[in-house]
């Protein structure tokens, strides 16, 4: 199946359980994560104007307007919206910045709020009917954020401790005997400057990617198995509806589970960002 065939198209292809012989075709990575561009920019390394843009714009509008409208008229006695915003800020402050950076971390609280809001909105687009595409399942978006944190991590460390001290603290772990340094330093360099930002972005991307794939699979399976007018008779038609119901139940359960994962992944990304910045602030340890 080609890259430009969507899940819906797959279900509309007419293949059903107990049907006329054609088997189940699982939704492909191409069909799910490489939507056909509406406008091709015609440049190397570009995706063109795809559904990701649309969904990202929606996520951007939701995240920005949520913050704008909940804090626009911040009062001493909060309204509903402001209470939610405060809950988020309070949670991130107490669970993330204060535990990793202490009181000094309060100045990075707006950044953490932004990260959480943006990531959660991008994630949750995966279960919004009609959009159903988590923006973070496209590695470009987690990469932006992880790279931003990676640069900020270096900037904070260098501004606090100087270039030498920052890189020394990152490359030479304390208490390691000198003769082992030739081995340790390359490992540390690889670990801190390559693997860590990479895992930071891939962790978020991969969970969203896998979650979306799973939901798409359940949906497609439900469509495939739903065949009440089976040519093999009404009994098989009833069985197919039963199977389809199981798939639907699985879809609903995993949708709820995905919502939880989306929040957790946003939290994890923010927590890791905060830990990295805290480490840079702390210097050598």
């Amino acid at each position: 199946m080609g890259a430009d065939v969507s899940v819906v198209a797959a279900s509309e292809s007419g293949c059903h359980l107990f049907g006329d012989g054609c088997g189940f075709e699982a939704p492909t990575v191409g069909s799910l994560f490489f939507p056909t561009p509406w406008v091709d920019f015609g440049l190397a390394g570009t995706s063109g104007l795809t559904k990701y843009y649309l969904v990202a714009v929606v996520a951007l509008i939701v995240a920005a307007s949520f913050w704008y409208f909940t804090t626009r008229r911040a009062k001493v006695v909060p309204g509903r919206g402001q209470s939610v915003a405060e809950l988020l800020v309070g949670f991130l402050r107490d669970q993330v910045t204060r535990t990793t950076m202490g009181k000094e971390g309060d100045k990075y609280l707006p950044l953490m709020v932004t990260l959480f809001l943006f990531i959660f909105c991008m994630n949750v687009m995966g279960i919004i009917p009609g959009l159903q595409l988590p923006v973070t399942s496209n590695l470009a978006f987690p990469a932006v954020l992880a790279l931003f944190i990676f640069i900020l991590w270096n900037v904070v460390g260098i501004r606090r401790h100087g270039v030498g001290a920052h890189f020394k603290a990152r490359l030479v772990p304390g208490g390691v005997p000198g003769w082992i340094l030739p081995v340790v330093v390359p490992i540390e360099a690889l670990s801190n400057f390559v693997i860590r930002p990479a895992t930071h972005m891939i962790r978020l991307f991969a969970t969203m990617f896998a979650g979306h794939l799973l939901l798409a699979l359940f949906a497609a399976a439900g469509f495939y198995m739903f065949n009440p007018t089976s040519p093999m008779g009404p009994l098989f038609g009833a069985i197919s509806v039963g199977y389809s119901g199981i798939a639907l139940l699985g879809f609903l359960v995993f949708t709820a589970f995905e919502l939880f994962i989306m929040a957790v992944q946003a939290y994890v990304f923010v927590l890791l960002s905060s830990i990295y910045l805290g480490e840079a602030m702390e210097g050598a340890h």
Partner: protein, 181 residues
Amino acid sequence: MPTVYLAAEENVLRIHWDEFTFGLIAFLIILGVVYKMWPRLTKALDERADQIEGGIARAQKAEAEADEIRQQYREKLEEAHREYAQELEKAKEQRAAIIAEAREEAQVEARRIIDAAHAQIEADRQQAFVQLKGEIGTLSTELASRIVGESLSDSAAQNRVIDRFLDELEQSEGKQQAEVR
């Protein structure tokens, strides 16, 4: 989309730089909104913290003041009780003193009145005695002159004269007694 392209396109770890740039712009927009609105929220939070802390401080102050005032009242009340007891004691003493004094004064007064009465009675008696003495003399001379003036031969007349004298005497004595009273 050309099929040759497909294998490269379907690398899930691809990062298209246009999407990357768009993601960066979106992130910076949200970051800008959050930073722009941040002071409003923190201002409200700080104000609330201030108000709560102020409220607690005020409550503590009010409680301390109330304690102090209660202590003062208690002390005042105790003092008042003590003063009252003292006053009562004093009043009792004073009452006893006043009663004793009054009794003494009354006794003195009574004695004085009795003495005055005695003196008055004595004086009256003396006066009556003097008056009586004078009148007896007068009456005696009058009687004697009458006796001499009347015929001494007539014994009946004599008796009459004497009787009349005695009557007059009695009358004058009754008058005198009434005067004394």
